[in-house]
Structure formats: structure tokens, C-alpha cells
Amino acid sequence: MKLDLTNPGQKYSLHATRKKDMETMGLPFPREWNRENFNLPPNWKEVALAKLDELRRKYRELQLFFDICVACGACADKCPFFIATEDPHNMPVARQELLRSVYRRYFTTAGRLFKGLAGGRELTEELIHDWYIYFYQCSQCRRCAVFCPYGIDTAVFTMAAREVMTAIGLTPRSLTESIAKCEVVGNHMGMQPAAMLNSISFAEEEIKEETGIEVHVPINKKGAEILFIAPSADFFGEPHWLTFKGYLKLFHQIGLDYTMSTYASEGGNFGTWLNYEHMKKINRKIMKEAERLGVKWILGGECGHMWRVLHAYMGTMNVNPEFLEEPISPITGTRFKNASYSKAVHVCEFTADLIRHQKLRLDHSKNDQYVVTFSDSCNPARFMGLIEEPRYILQNVCKNFVEIDPSVNRERTICCTAGGGLLSDETLELRLRAIKPKVDAIRETGANFLALICAIDKAVYPEYLKHYRIPVQVGGVHELVGNALVIM
């Protein structure tokens, strides 16, 4: 293993949030600042330490993981950002150490007495600069945790450090711009109701041109059985759009009584990557809307971090959503017992169930031109365990399916390296380097179609594959479902 002690990671730092967005979101210490000059408030140190103290009393995992890491180094070379930069601070344990050393210095007896000798570090502005760089060079993908003998999860540290930085007014624009739009307009793209209607009508027209079938998408329809939530990129992104049409065809064919919403037109949740408050704010909208519309349950489209929130956090954040009912597929009668509390079903679970009950007429000849492979996304794989369902669907809608080397796929996946707020131009070079092990593995499969179930994956892979000159088309699982589906 090689280290580059010149710290090449220092090159990649995210732009600062503008003062007006800080004000819109009600973030602390709204002011002008930039990557070089943080312009920190005078009492920043007390605020930061008080926040850190608060967090370790709120999150057992944080306190526990502060204490029990033995620095064995199992995680060291597993982080794609370390592989890309060889910057020692990008080793997961070293990234954790940026925060842990401050904990030691201020919150343990040995650290208060012996400081550096006990592995403690003063909280200085210089260290905060390192935090701002390296805690935004972690996509919270949790690959490192898979290899840790105690399951220590660097995302816990990253999220805590970002909470602390938010408290002293340090937030990157790549997150806050989208969050502000989401909280005001309803989605990260800032797409207003008319634009959403346009987009959906356009999809309906395209499907009519292609198949002669008229599909109709209800929006804000009260009393529908199901609220369908998708990441907003699906409404116009390329290649997300084709997946979106895939859903619409599927819902039309099975005669699903569903609705979309303009108020909750975002499944994604950039708040997750900033702090608990904004994560809950964005997620809560979905529940509020489900209640207002009087739906029975929620169906969620293909998205990674959206499902991290819907699966792992939503039930906790929204206590007892009793206005909803246990999800039952209206077509097959299957009870989704796995979602009996928070009442949200993943579209891959839903479709896999339809296929299993032979409720779909599928003609894979439309996909015969493709050799399809599937890249697991970090959140569905490591936060949900949704690994087999997409594969089951793909094997039913395609003739040629090949697997990617499991050392960079399944629960060990290296996915997009653009999650966690890293989806911005400042990090493009870094991400292109970080993705190399994965694109090499994709090249080796010989596939010409890469199927994905994450909106960020879909946004970044075309660029990555073009850069590495790998002739593979990128699309969603439900794009291929849409191709194969015989609709009437």
C-alpha cells in the first residue's frame, strides 16, 4: 500500500453555500464565506464542541465507535476515495480519527490531561478545514464497515462531523441548493407543478407514439390507493426518463390505482447528507402528503439514498403512520409484511412479486440486443439488503445477464462515488479516479448494458463510461421491464 503524503485530496473542496440560501433554510450563522476563508463566527469553537458533546449523547453508535476502534487497518484500503487519491486522510480510520482525536482531547480524562500523548488533537481552524475537505470526500457508502471486525461505520462519523459543521455555518452548496429547493418548491430540481405536468404529459405522448397505447398519470388525486414517489431526476433526466416511462407502462398495464404528487415530488433526500433535521423535513413531506391524499400505502421508485431513508429512517421519524394500511399488492394479493410498519414498498419488490405470480406478459426479445449487467448501489445493498430482487427481474426480462465481480459488487459494491453530496463539478476528477475499480470490472463482464436502480448512478455512469471509453449503455431496471412488457 502506498500513501501520498502531499495530500492530493486537498484539491477537491466543495463550494460554499450562498448567504441567501443559508437564510432560506434557516441555517446558523448566515454570512458570506468561501472555501479558503470560512469567516467563522467568533464563538465557533464552543458551538462546535457543544454540538459534538450533544451528538455523542444522542447516538450510541458514535460514542461506541469513538471508543472501540483498535486501528487495525482492515478498512484502510477499502475506500474508493483512498484508492483514488492515496491521501492518508481518506483511509476510513484516518477519516474517523479527524473527529475521534477531538473527542479524545476534550471529552476523555486522558485526553484532557495528556493531550497529544493520549491521541488528542486541538480543535483548530486548520483542522476544521480538513474536516470540510475530508468529510465531504466520503459518500457514506459504508463499504469500509463491511470489512471492519466490529462493524464500525464511517458514515456515522461523517454524519456527525457534518452536523457539527452545519452548526458553525459550514455547508456546501452542492447540498444546500437542492435542499432549499426541495423544501420550498417540492423537489431538488426546483421543478414547479406546471413543469412537472409538462414532463409527465410528454412521457404519455411518447408512450403513445411508441406503442399506440394511451396511458394516463393521475397527479394529486385524492383517494387513490397508492402514492408513487420517485426521485425527481426521473421526470426528465437522461437516461432516467426511460425508466420513468417503464413505470408508467407497467402501472397502466396492471391498472394500478395510483397517484403522483407535486407537493411531495421528490423521493430523494439530500437532507440526509446534511443533518437529521433536514432529512426529516424532506421525508416528512411524503408522509404528510400520503395523509392528505388519503392513500393506503406508498410505492417508491428506483433510487439509492431515497431508499436508505424510506427503509431505515422513515418508520422511526414518522411514528405510527396509522392513516396508512399494510401494503397489499392489488394485483397478486401479496401482503408486504416486510413493510407492515412504515408502509413503503420498493418498486423492485413490487415488480418481482408480479413476475413471480406471472401477472405480466413479458417478451424479452426487445432486450435481446443487450448483454445486461447489474451494479449494486450502496444504499439498496448495504442499507436495505435489496440484492436479489433486481436480479430476479432482470433475469426475467432479458436473455443475457452477466454478473460483475462480487469483490466490487453486491454488499461489497463500489457504486457511484457521487452520493453524500459529492455530485458536483468540484469533485468530478476525484470521482473519475475513484470509480476506476468498478468500471474496470464492468468492462471485464463484456456487457453492453448497465442496469441500475439509483438516480445518481444513472446520472454519473454515462460520463464515467465515456471517460474510460467503455461502450456500455446505461439504464434502469424498469427501463428494461418497460421494453419487455407487452402492453395493451
Partner: protein, 253 residues
């Protein structure tokens, strides 16, 4: 001993009073408690995650803990139940001695790795070196005492019995043993304040001990904060014109 047990209990309580506010299980994860027990049990026996991480480190770590276990067991048997050796045969006693030597060798490997592996050296702290030196000294002195120490084990037994029953007798005046014993006490007292707390802490890691039931059962967050949202009404008022395009009441049925 009191510091050790008291310290460990204090540690564990300190962890337990803090809530786990969210589900953060690492999937694929079991959905039953039996499944979790199996997952943790296998992890305990085979160090499976570490094996995925790298063979050399795994072998070092796994052997270290295995030999540590054997060594501790040998100590307990020899000190408190020496009669067991005559039952199972003294060959086992001899083998345990070799295990002790191998133990020191494995510790040297781990120390060597910490010194030469560029990554590990980067993030190693004084406390990491202190601990590994301490354990090495313990193992080395233990091996030395056993091989060349001419130690009267009966005297050690009665000394420790005396300590535990609060009727102390004089310890055997054997320098190697006394140093070994002193370090051992130091080590025990240091454990609760060090990373060695992983010996109980690992079971508490929510990433491994949570069941994957995040959508089917309620997980309580005691400090779950209320958030203020813009209600539909004011949203609808702001986009009134646009929503009308959808249909009456902003509905496209």
C-alpha cells in the same frame, strides 16, 4: 480486578444510556434474533469480516485472540484447578507452553506490521504502541517465567487465593513473576480506559446487532424532533395558477 470489572461495567453502562436513534444495520442482515445471534457468533469464531479484508491481518488477529484465549484458560486451570492437568494429561500442559511462545511471536508480527505498514503506521497512536508493548512484555515475561523462572506454582496459587479471599499471604519472591504480575494488574486496570473495551463493545455495534426489520417494526428514537413543514394550503396558494392547470383543486384524476 475491582478497577477492571468496575471500569468495564461503567463503560458498558455509559454506552447503554445513550439511545440508538436510527436503524443502521449493515445488510444483508438477518430478520430474526436467532439470525443475529448466528451472525455475531460466526463473527466471533471466525473473524469473517476481517478475513474479507485481508488474509495476513486476519490470520494475525485471529491467532492472536485464539492464543490469548488459550493462555488465559491455561492460567486459570494452572492456578485454580491444577488437578485438571493430571486428568487430561501433562502433554496438554506442555502444548499450552508452546502456545505461549507462539503468542509472543504473533504479537511481534502485529507490532512489526504496525511499524512497517505505511497506512497503519500513519494512524497509529502512542496508545496503540503502548498497548502492544504491554501485551508483548506480558507474554514474553510469562514465557520466560515458565521456561527459566523456576517458579513455585503452588505458591502462586496460594498467593492469589489469599488475594481473592482477602486473607493475603506473601507472594513468591520471583522477580520475573512479580514483574509479570505487576504488568498484568496494570493491564487489567488500563483496559476499561482503552480500545480493549472492544471486548464487550463489539456486541453493541448496531451495524451488526440490529435485525433488518426497519420497515416492519417501529424503532424508537427518544429525541425524535418535531419539524416545521409548509402546509399544503400555503403551498397551493403559492402555485395556485399552476395547480389549476392540473385540474380542479389541483387534482389530475
Amino acid at each position: 480486578m475491582a478497577v477492571f470489572f468496575g471500569g468495564i461495567i461503567y463503560r458498558v453502562l455509559k454506552w447503554l444510556v445513550v439511545p440508538v436513534p436510527t436503524m443502521i444495520m449493515l445488510t444483508p442482515a438477518p430478520i430474526t434474533r436467532m439470525g443475529v445471534a448466528k451472525r455475531l457468533g460466526l463473527e466471533f469464531l471466525s473473524f469473517g469480516s476481517l478475513r474479507k479484508a485481508g488474509r495476513k491481518l486476519w490470520l494475525g488477529g485471529w491467532l492472536f485472540h485464539l492464543l490469548l484465549g488459550i493462555t488465559l484458560l491455561t492460567h486459570i486451570v494452572t492456578i485454580f484447578f491444577p488437578v485438571i492437568w493430571s486428568t487430561v494429561g501433562y502433554t496438554w500442559y506442555e502444548l499450552a507452553g508452546y502456545a505461549g511462545i507462539l503468542f509472543a511471536a504473533v504479537i511481534s508480527f502485529l507490532l512489526f506490521r504496525r511499524l512497517v505498514h505505511p497506512g497503519v503506521r500513519f494512524f497509529s497512536k502512542y496508545s496503540d504502541y503502548f498497548l502492544i508493548f504491554l501485551i508483548f512484555s506480558l507474554a514474553f515475561l510469562g514465557d520466560y517465567t515458565r521456561a527459566f523462572g523456576k517458579l513455585d506454582q503452588g505458591a502462586v496459587s496460594s498467593y492469589l487465593y489469599g488475594l481473592l479471599t482477602l486473607q493475603p499471604v506473601l507472594p513468591p519472591s520471583n522477580l520475573a513473576f512479580l514483574t509479570h504480575f505487576l504488568l498484568a494488574q496494570l493491564f487489567l486496570m488500563y483496559i476499561p480506559f482503552s480500545k480493549v473495551t472492544h471486548l464487550v463493545g463489539w456486541v453493541l455495534a448496531p451495524t451488526r446487532n440490529q435485525r433488518n426489520i426497519a420497515r416492519s417494526e417501529w424503532h424508537r428514537n427518544p429525541w425524535n424532533p418535531e419539524v416545521k413543514l409548509e402546509p399544503w394550503e400555503s403551498y397551493a396558494a403559492r402555485y395556485q395558477k399552476e395547480l389549476e392547470e392540473l385540474g380542479p383543486g389541483g387534482e389530475r384524476r
